[in-house]
Symmetry: C2
Subunit: 331 residues, 2 copies
């Protein structure tokens, strides 16, 4: 079922609850490079399993990113399965089995039964029991639909964890996946004691110093073309070294360029340690970035694509802006 | 009444409706330098008066800021009263009569009756009829409480205008004034057809090119002190000229510095056209910025204050960082 309504989701809880109650030991897990929804959903489920008195482990291939270290229960996650046999593996926010990650996959695969709870467009359809709703903006929103109407006590910890999942996957209610229902659910979680201020401070109001320094460098290298409709910038290895920033710190930079009122297409060129140039391209509306990415052997979606170049960063930037200006002219 | 509950607010509508129905001509107004809540609330009320078939004018002393020009009905606002006698003036989002603005004040003062609808802490208590709730995060949230339960048809335009008021006054649900009830109301407005994507694009996802260029300059001038706990930057007149930015474009810059993970106190020094230096200081938690501002003859609140200096920007910056480091050490 891919289009379960909130009511249909709530009706799926008793079946899952029966499986949980029948199990002696349960594994909770999610995808590699965990985000707010993966960690929030898995940890919320861990607190619910506590309530139900169920022995369990919370397994993640990768550690949490720093900005999510404030999550209640974050110390529960590990990539070292105990080896204790599990009756049930509940994997949240996962649409393809390969994204579980190799350090924890064998433990999950060895569990007697696999439950998948997810909001992504199903791909491989893994799992013996699948609770999937592509209408939900976050897996955390699905869990709220399972639990809120079904007498699971939503503690402030659980409320905070689920709200983190909803806020991070809806971009704080800014993405088009935001539904009135998901906002009502968020309001219910606030009412249940979710710590909104703590979430905002940790996730939105805190930026690593090296990332801010690197963004300053990116802005000072800002170049415009096509009557300010094209914006691009370059970051060299020395910029990373001087600021102390890592590649992860550049996330969102290209979107900041695209947010400039005159800009319809934006790109960033980053020099990797090997000297290879990584290119990210974004656009608004019908402007197809893949037309540009393809010229560099890359690809992606209409409004977001990527490519690599083995030229120097200056030459790559020159070729890129030419391709972007052409693309814009033909759009 | 300063602590009206949503239910109490909804019960105040019939009385106000009777006044509206008895009136031949109505003036709507709000405060100078209108923000999203002032414009959203006044324009939403204008659409409701259309529904009720009431002749009215929407008066503002100042024009709307550019980023709010997308608001439905924005062309209705004017600072030129028609002079037609009004039975009723409904002034939203206003706690002190002086903030109406001189170009429209005489028309408002000449109206037979003054209604104030507001969420600020009452100060002067103007108005013959006062609908005030300091628990509401926005005047728009009060209007939603008046209208949603009272059979006023919330068109997509009205929903969009009220949602703008709630989102801008709660910082997109990031400020502590966010209540579960206001989030439920926002969800209801979404359901009524509020254009969330348009709001986000206009208000949050669009930055003027000169402002982005100037922010790049501010970041390239970023200086740190006290083990990266103090951050400050300078902007000269030439920076404004080179980027084409105006003072309004620096709004939020100092908060961006305060958002750096290591920073507990931040400041920005701006050179005005006259050469005078404007200083803005921000802090986190118990660090009292007024201790610093006072040394420059300024003042403000614990976490936000301002001052001026007649020194050169370099000398002012030097004195400022010394005062900030001392203040931090004594906190």
């Amino acid at each position: 079922m891919t289009e379960a309504s909130p009511n249909q989701l709530s009706e799926m809880w008793p079946g899952l609850l029966a499986e949980i109650q029948a199990a002696n030991h349960i594994l909770l897990a999610s995808h590699v490079n965990p985000d707010g929804d993966a960690l929030g959903s898995a940890l919320a489920f861990s607190f619910v399993l506590d309530q139900l008195g169920k022995s369990h482990e919370v397994l993640f291939h990768h550690p949490a990113p720093k900005y999510l270290n404030f999550l209640p229960g974050i110390e529960r996650i590990t990539n070292q399965p105990s080896g204790r046999p599990a009756d049930l593996a509940i994997v949240v926010d996962l649409e393809a089995i390969g994204r579980i990650g190799e350090t924890i996959y064998p433990a999950i695969a060895a569990a007697k039964k696999l439950v998948i709870i997810d909001h992504h467009q199903p791909n491989e359809r893994p799992g013996d029991i699948r609770i999937v709703s592509t209408k939900s903006p976050a897996t955390a929103a699905i869990l709220a639909d399972l639990w809120l109407p079904n007498n699971i006590e939503i503690s402030p910890e659980i409320a905070t964890l689920l709200l983190v999942g909803i806020l991070t996957d809806t971009g704080n209610f800014r993405y088009p996946n935001t539904t009135p229902h998901s906002m009502h659910v968020a309001a219910d979680l606030l009412e249940a004691g979710a710590k909104l201020t703590a979430i905002n401070e940790a996730i939105y109001l805190t930026k690593p110093l090296p990332a801010v320094k690197l963004f300053g460098k990116a802005l000072s290298n800002l170049r415009l073309a096509a009557d300010n409709q094209v914006a691009y910038t370059t970051l060299r290895q020395s910029d990373f070294t001087n600021s102390g920033a890592i590649e992860e710190d550049t996330e969102g930079f290209v979107n900041e360029l695209l947010a400039i009122d005159t800009v319809r297409m934006a790109a960033i060129l980053r020099e990797s340690a090997s000297g290879r140039i990584k290119i990210s391209i974004r656009s608004q509306g019908p402007i197809d970035t893949t037309q540009v990415a393809k010229q560099f052997g890359g690809g992606g979606h209409i409004n977001a694509s990527g490519a690599h170049s083995d030229d120097t960063i200056e030459v790559a930037a020159e070729k890129l802006v030419e391709a972007m200006v052409q693309c814009l002219a033909s759009s």
